[in-house]
Symmetry: C2
Subunit: 386 residues, 2 copies
DNA sequence: CCCCTACTGTAAGGTTCCTTTACAATTAAC
DNA sequence: GTTAATTGTAAAGGAACCTTACAGTAGGGG
């Protein structure tokens, strides 16, 4: 009870539970809401009246069929707030605008080289996306941004991003000043992990990891249903993982040519494909092998072995229930690669997770950013202030 | 609110908060309790009356000094419940009995070879300890047991314990049948981690790890203030961690001669000491080096390097704020070894935790088991049933 | 076609649990 | 020896839930 601040604690809790319920289950009747939230019909009615007065819910229809009168269906008002999510890549910025219910209204793109600095790039992309969505920038409750690089969990600012020289410490402050509203920045791999958890393979799984295998290498760690960022935001930087067969990394330079990074990045895969006498990029060879090309078979087996070498270390530390393979290589490898990796992990230690490929279609980073932005926007909009 | 079960939810929450407060802060007055729990003086008084009627709190004195009447001091009744904790080792079983306030009343020991089976061994040790404490076994609210080996977090039963052939799946059921009360079994390293968190170096730290370096090798992972056991209870089995410079482990056999285990166990340390031309056991050489023996200096440096090789991998995955070195080697190495390890980790990757030696005196496993047992016993005793 | 049943939505009154205000009793300090 | 701060209890009040009761509506059986 910690000193009931004048703000009605229980009521707010119930109001919020009701809103979350309507968001996840769709429109509900008074009675059903009462059952789900744990309130009587009467109290549920009072709750809905309150939320209606605040402009957060409205009657969206009537329940057909059934004995008595057609009960009114209540739902969250989509225009109660909007969110913009962005994925900042070295060569492309993508954006998505959604309303508070999570419905995507518009997307946008920008070549980052067209803009002079991060704030300009973000402003231009968001301006375009909001215009397409038919809303104004002032209606955005928050901006959620996914980038490569490490984010300081205390400040929420970027510490450094190897691939994006313009995105450095201070960007958060600049964006806040420019937009005058909450700005969230998060590591791209962590966001892919969140996306997978909210709508993909690791949905409902308490302890899981998502291995991002692409140009860079990363890991999203989910412990007890929550993303683990680490004390300095560096959790999951497995490019630096020392594995047998790779030279040990030195210092905090990018470990392009050492450690786990040197074994399984897209570049390393290209080299490996050539070493196996295959033509085409490494990712193409993965696709070929998955589709049954026997020449690419030993290449895929070696890839699985290399992945397992690093992932086994992670499993020994965390013992996750599930390991999702994502990124270009993870997606290309599909369940064939996942199965091989799982078998290889089993030969290396006692903790064997279920290994599966990503189930998110489209851009998982953008999806995760949207999810994170929605969470914050809902806190903003739904939390009673006054 | 989730459908208020007839059990007074708010009241129970407040009652429990008050009890926890009296346990951690010692006796309090009505008014002070109200302030701390967040209740008015009147309600705090009613709360204490309730708990007094249930025999859980009593007046333990009066506050001297101050203006008005001497306020009564209320405290938890120690005899409200008792706990027994055990540490099962291959060659020794130790036990400790404490009352609900955490005051240790007696300890006991047993040579496990004197008993025919685990249940007998536990019974004998507990019987002896309770007798010394002047209580009966029936007054014990729960038994908390620390063992090497892996515990299934779903069932709470042992999966396997390499060093204790008699402790295998089914022991939990046997103990429950024999004692007819809650039995908790937990991995010894995890318990050392809990002890360190509740009264040692990692107290108040959200994300930390404790590396146990002894005959075996283990890691306790604490994420967001909570012990992370992993899906199959195998989190922290870092003996199997593949590191450069050690042969890769195969399958789930004990990795005595491969992986991280082969580099830094007590046995590996003995071998290493000999390789450096030192006499005496590895642990003795660590002590000598720490105390300034220049001959043992290169040995200590190599030990730190080896430790860092494995710990760097852990830091890359988890990015903990703090890393505690425990076990015989960790304790012997003290802050000298810890400092070297920290420096070595810094040279291997971007995530550098503060590395410190354990601050727990006595047996940290027994201490952790007691802590875990107290937590459960308090839930048992303090939770209003009926 | 009519009535019964099951359901919706609101009104009235009750319960739980905490709060504020008021006051007599107590004790250190002036 | 009076004063001021405190303690502990009593009485009244408010927040937020609940149950009961009832008028009104829609589908289905006779």
């Amino acid at each position: 009870m910690s000193r009931a601040p004048k703000t009605h604690l229980i009521r707010d809790t119930n109001d919020r539970a009701a809103l979350d319920l309507m968001l996840s289950n769709g429109p509900v009747t008074k009675t059903r809401l009462g059952e789900l939230v744990g309130l009587s019909k009467v109290t549920a009615g009072q709750l809905l009246t309150r939320l209606g007065d605040r402009g957060l819910v409205e009657v969206v229809g009537a329940q057909q069929g059934g004995r008595g009168p057609n009960a009114a269906l209540y739902g969250v008002v989509p225009s109660a707030g909007y969110v913009a999510a962005l994925h900042i890549g070295p060569d492309q910025i993508t954006a998505s605008v959604a309303d508070i219910t999570g419905t995507e209204l518009a997307t946008g793109e920008l070549d980052p080289h067209e803009a002079s600095d991060p704030v300009e790039a973000v402003r231009a992309t968001v301006a375009h996306a909001t215009r397409s969505a038919g809303i104004t920038m002032s209606q955005l409750r928050c901006l959620s941004i996914g980038t490569p690089g490490m984010i300081d969990p205390r400040t929420g600012d970027i510490r450094f991003a190897n691939d994006l020289p313009d995105w450095r410490a201070g960007v958060l402050e600049d964006l806040r000043r420019s937009f005058q509203r909450p700005i969230l920045i998060e590591n791209d791999v962590n966001l892919a992990g969140l996306a997978e958890q909210s709508a993909g393979a690791s949905h409902g799984v308490k302890d899981s990891v998502l291995a991002w295998i692409d140009r860079g290498l990363g890991l999203a760690v989910i412990v007890d249903g929550r993303l683990h960022r680490g004390a300095g935001g560096g959790a999951g930087e497995i490019g630096y993982l020392a594995v047998p067969g790779a030279s040990t990394p030195h210092g905090t330079d990018s470990p392009q040519h050492a450690a786990f990074q040197s074994l399984v990045s897209v570049e390393a895969m290209d080299t490996l494909a050539r070493a196996f006498g295959l033509s085409g990029s490494g990712v193409d060879c993965v696709r070929a092998a998955v589709e049954g090309d026997v020449d690419a078979e030993p290449f895929l087996e070696e890839l699985a072995r290399r992945l397992a070498l690093g992932l086994a270390g992670i499993c020994v530390v965390l013992d996750p229930e599930l390991c999702v393979l994502a990124g270009e290589v993870g997606r290309a490898g599909g369940s064939v690669l996942a199965g091989r990796v799982q078998k290889a992990i089993a030969s290396l230690g006692p903790n064997v997770p279920t290994v599966v490929p990503t189930e998110i279609s489209g851009d998982p980073v953008l999806r995760g950013a949207l999810q994170m932005g929605l969470d914050t926007a809902r806190d903003e909009v739904f939390t009673h202030q006054g």
